[in-house]
């Protein structure tokens, strides 16, 4: 049986005067999916969400829900609800009246409204707040009431517009877990908008990274992190070293790249065919780079006496290997970030876990160090 896409966005464009907010965007979102639109501010993610909700009209293209176009349907008749950034709870109504609102609009019987509001309050674990007014609730409670209100008449789709941005870090993390569990339990499709990449990685089944009104990449979080398809995605998702160069030769999925100023390295995880000589960029996550104390004879006996493997870098055949100086370091508690200047002046960000007891700093600024990464550590993108 063919899996039907719940929501299909076909070639949607939106222009505000001279500014092209959405440029022929197409997306398919499956039923039951936790889908995230991720991008920097101004990338068009909120515009797209407002188009799906119906608050704004597209200049071109179509939006299909269950295979039927909803582009001409006003928001009040679309079977989907939005969680607003500031929750948009009605301040003059009690919590129970707020949750009852969509049921009242749908013309439900009083008795049914009462029982379903009670049920909804149970579900968000705030049954004692029914008679309270929104301004007496905390941020997290408002959030839960907004969710209860949006889900009480079981929409096909829930749109969430940066719902956690107003909460502090701890609460936001807790709400992330709640959102994941909630979505799993009720099975309603979530479309989530955020500029916070860590939030997106933690929550989503799939993420669409947006840039300047276009979709840069749509993928599962781990694919997005491990296999960014462009310099922009690599840069935007997590921290990433991007080293420019050109392709010298390719054999299957193994490519030899001449990095500008660094010389040849092997990259053995390439899925695309690069033409020999084409410009490319090696994207390298800081945690994939090993950093060690410089020794004149690589792989010499001091490895044996060292406290940890991190102390030296033993050169393996399939590793790329460079030396440099610690330019600066950032102690973050669990890890320390070292920025290493390589011989050609390129700054490379590396990461070292502080897990070894009694070791808060492995290296000091100015120390001569070696860095290395295996040939499957980096990912090659066209530049």
């Amino acid at each position: 049986m063919e899996i039907l896409d719940l929501l299909e966005i076909v070639d949607v464009s939106r222009r505000f005067d001279a500014f092209l907010a959405l440029d022929r965007v197409s997306l398919q979102i499956e039923a039951g999916e936790f889908f995230t639109l991720l991008g920097p501010s101004g990338c068009g993610k909120t515009t797209l969400l407002r188009l799906i909700a119906g608050f704004d009209q597209a200049d071109g293209g179509d939006i299909l829900l269950d295979g039927k176009s909803i582009i001409a349907t006003p928001p009040e008749y679309r079977p989907l609800h939005t969680i607003f950034q500031n929750y948009a709870l009605f301040p003059h109504m009690t919590v129970a009246e707020n949750i009852a609102f969509p049921l009242r609009m749908a013309g439900c019987a009083k008795k049914e409204i009462q029982s379903r509001v009670g049920e909804a309050l149970e579900n968000v674990r705030l049954p004692d707040k029914a008679g309270k007014y929104p301004d007496s609730l905390s941020g997290g409670q408002k959030q839960r009431i907004a969710i209860a209100r949006a889900l009480v008449n079981r929409p096909r789709l829930l749109l969430l517009d940066e719902p956690l941005s107003a909460l502090d870090a701890k609460l936001s993390e807790q709400m992330q877990l709640e959102l994941i569990n909630l979505q799993k339990d009720i099975g309603i499709t979530f479309i989530y908008v955020t500029h916070d990449q860590s939030e997106a990685l933690a929550l989503s089944h799939r993420i669409a990274v947006m840039d300047h009104g276009r979709i840069a990449q749509v993928d599962a979080p781990s694919r997005l992190y491990g296999y960014p398809n462009s310099r922009f995605v690599a840069d935007f998702i997590g921290k990433c070293n991007v080293l420019a160069g050109h392709v010298r030769e390719q054999q299957g999925d193994c490519v030899t790249v001449e990095l500008d100023g660094l010389g040849p390295v092997h990259v053995c995880r390439s899925e695309t065919n690069f033409g020999v000589g084409s410009r490319c960029a090696l994207t390298l996550r800081p945690e994939k780079i090993r950093i060690g104390r410089f020794s004149s004879i690589p792989g010499a006996s001091d490895t044996m006496t060292s406290m940890s493997v991190a102390d030296t870098v033993s050169p393996l055949g399939d590793e790329s290997h460079f030396t440099g100086y610690v330019h600066d370091l950032l102690y973050l508690g669990d890890v320390t970030v070292y920025n290493v200047t390589l011989s050609n002046g390129i700054l490379l960000e590396t990461l070292l876990a502080n897990s070894a007891s009694g070791r808060t700093n492995f290296f000091e600024v100015g120390d001569r160090v070696e860095v290395a990464w295996s040939c499957d550590a980096g990912h090659l993108v066209l530049d």
């Binding site: 009040e76 609800h81 607003f84 301040p91 003059h92 609009m105 007014y133 209100r149």
Partner: protein, 310 residues
């Protein structure tokens, strides 16, 4: 009056908090209100139990030779008020004008305030300027202007009668009619309704309307379930600002109301200026003040509703 209560309330709270500098800050307005509001009110209350003097004003206090002071206090003035229904009817008529003016101002001012509040920033300033533009010329001058417009040989009356003539209606006079009074009362007081309403509507979170629409509310339900209840404090404030001055209005009835158009304000003015019967004028003033305070309290209670949270 509400200002005083407000001040007393603040003072009670500040005294508890022992924040004396705040108390000091409110001292000058308090002294001002004591001298020019509280004291005259008490004098008026006292005067309402006195006799009128032979040549107007209040009868003199008798100082007997042995130095004894006699105050001739009387309930005569209050009996005069209650002895006839003429003043009650005048009060009711004034309240009627005030209610009518307030309602018309609300019906006309609400869409105006809403339009201004929802327009873009640039035109908003211009529209607000237009609302307060009439304040740039004197109140009396504007009423004289209306007298010219309403006069039997004025353009408005002529045009109206010309149109009425076409459909076979008889000629009408606008001048010295209740219609003229209401038109002018609304004209003068409309900004007092529009400005507080605008101040309220402008602060509304438009996301609430989006949320209501998202949850299935059409245009009318969005207005009646969201915008209207949230604007109740603005409506209350505007209504009080219109109702109270209209209740005590004497200039417009004087100039436009004709012989049948007098309101309670005219009678009070007559008592003080023409009849020179200060005690009875005081009685009428006290009743007017009490009515106004009652309206404010009622309004404050209504405004305290959930709409106050907007």
């Amino acid at each position: 009056m509400p200002a005083i209560w407000c001040w007393i309330n603040t003072m009670r709270k500040t005294m508890q908090g022992k924040a004396w500098h705040k108390y000091l800050l409110s001292l000058p307005p308090m002294v001002y209100l004591l001298i020019f509001f509280a004291a005259p009110t008490l004098i008026m209350l006292f005067a309402s139990f006195r006799y009128a003097g032979e040549y107007g004003g209040l009868a003199p206090w008798y100082l007997h030779e042995e130095g004894r002071l006699t105050l001739d206090l009387t309930l005569e003035n209050w009996q005069r008020l209650l002895g006839t229904d003429i003043y009650l009817r005048l009060f009711l008529k004034s309240v009627g004008y005030a209610v009518m003016t307030t309602l018309i101002c609300m019906v006309m001012g609400y869409p105006l305030a809403l339009t201004i509040a929802r327009s873009d920033r640039k035109s908003r300033d211009l529209l607000l300027l237009l609302v307060i533009l009439p304040f740039w010329s004197n109140f009396l001058v504007r009423i004289y202007a209306w007298m010219i417009i309403f006069s039997p040989v004025g353009a408005l009356t002529r045009m109206l009668n010309g149109l009425l003539d076409l459909v076979g209606g008889g000629p009408v006079t606008l001048m010295y009619s209740p219609t003229a009074m209401i038109i002018c009362l609304v004209y003068v007081h409309l900004p007092f309704m529009v400005l507080p309403l605008y101040a309220n509507l402008e602060k509304h979170d438009l996301d609430l309307l989006d949320a209501a629409q998202d949850l299935g509310a059409g245009k009318w339900r969005r207005f009646w379930l969201i915008t209207w209840p949230l604007s109740l404090p603005g409506i209350t404030a505007g209504s009080i600002l219109v109702f109270i001055p209209v209740l005590g209005m004497f200039a417009i009835p004087d100039l436009l109301g004709g012989t049948n158009g007098i309101m309670i304000g005219n009678v009070i003015k007559q008592q003080f200026m023409e009849s020179r019967d200060w005690p009875f004028g005081s009685v009428l003033s006290i009743v007017l003040t009490v009515t106004a305070v009652a309206v404010v309290l009622l309004g404050a209670r209504l405004g305290q509703g959930r709409g106050g949270r907007g």
